[in-house]
């Protein structure tokens, strides 16, 4: 929410939101179907990958991250990267 944002406020068209929504629904469909066919340990990997893809859409389009300053993107990238490291190392710790 930078101050100058409104001077150059970006207007996202309705159509784009509908497109993103369709993508999100499609991803949801894939996750549910994939969970049903029993891929064993890969189910969770696939589920988390799809969830991350959905998050990418929500962050970039619904939350307008695409049009934010670079410094914002860096902050969020660092926060998420740190979190992924935590989760990743936890799995590492427990799977070996």
């Amino acid at each position: 929410m930078s101050e100058h944002q409104h001077a150059e406020a970006h207007v996202t068209e309705y159509g784009k939101y509908i497109f993103v929504w369709l993508a999100l629904i499609a991803f949801t469909g894939i996750t549910v179907t994939a969970a049903g066919i029993g891929l064993g340990n890969w189910t969770i990997v696939l589920a988390l990958t799809i969830a991350s893809a959905k998050s990418w859409f929500v962050l970039n389009y619904f939350m307008h991250l695409k049009h934010e300053d670079t410094v914002f993107k860096v902050f969020i990238a660092v926060a998420l990267f740190t979190f992924v490291i935590f989760i990743g190392f936890t799995f590492w710790d427990y799977s070996f």
């Binding site: 929410m1 409104h6 406020a9 207007v11 996202t12 068209e13 309705y14 939101y17 509908i18 993103v20 929504w21 999100l24 629904i25 949801t28 996750t31 549910v32 969970a35 049903g36 029993g38 189910t43 969770i44 589920a47 988390l48 799809i50 969830a51 959905k54 998050s55 929500v58 962050l59 389009y61 619904f62 939350m63 914002f72 902050f75 969020i76 926060a79 998420l80 979190f83 935590f86 989760i87 936890t90 799995f91 427990y94 799977s95």
Partner: protein
């Protein structure tokens, strides 16, 4: 607002890590316990939240274009979706409680440790998420009031933007909660 959202990442992130550890330790039991959850209810709630996130985002566009009536309509759709989500959640939890599955219940305590942990996490994480849904509704009701009072206008809509950001976070958390709790087979 984004700074606040980071604190939410830490709050829910911590719980996701706890979930990850327990799931690893009690794989079989997590699988068994997850069978008790109704995937259809979870799926419906996922679609409701995704749709409400879209209407929240659209309300900003409507506001930017000066179409205040449409913006208010979209905010109302978002609020009603939140109610639909909570009604679903209410029936889902009621069914669980009816079957004797609630924290500290004799039925639950007689199950293996892993299942107790699974349902403990299920109630805490979806419960905290539901609390966020309620807070989101309160935010949007305030925004509607501020629109009526002329405090939120097509040129000054930061409150609407921030409420929508909060709402998208609620959506994001659910995106991860849904597969992790409902889709373990």
């Amino acid at each position: 607002m984004w700074l606040f959202l980071f604190t939410e990442l830490i709050l829910f992130g911590g719980m996701f890590i706890v979930y990850a550890v327990y799931r690893f330790v009690h794989q079989q039991e997590f699988h068994l316990a997850a069978q008790e959850l109704n995937t259809t209810v979870g799926l419906i709630n996922t679609i409701i939240l995704l749709t409400s996130s879209m209407t929240a985002a659209m309300s900003i566009t409507a506001m930017q274009k000066g179409n205040i009536r449409f913006a208010k309509g979209l905010i109302w759709v978002t609020i009603l979706s939140a109610f639909a989500f909570m009604v679903n959640k209410f029936f889902e939890w009621s069914a669980k409680i009816h079957h004797g599955i609630y924290p500290g219940s004799p039925d639950l305590l007689s199950k293996p440790n892993g299942e107790i942990l699974y349902f403990g996490l299920y109630y805490v994480m979806t419960g905290l998420h539901a609390l966020h849904v309620i807070v989101g509704v309160v935010f949007f009701l305030f925004v509607l009031r501020h629109i009526a009072q002329g405090k939120v206008t097509p040129t000054a809509y930061v409150r609407l933007e921030n409420s929508a950001l909060y709402w998208h976070l609620v959506d994001l958390i659910w995106i991860f909660l849904f597969p992790l709790f409902y889709l373990i087979h």
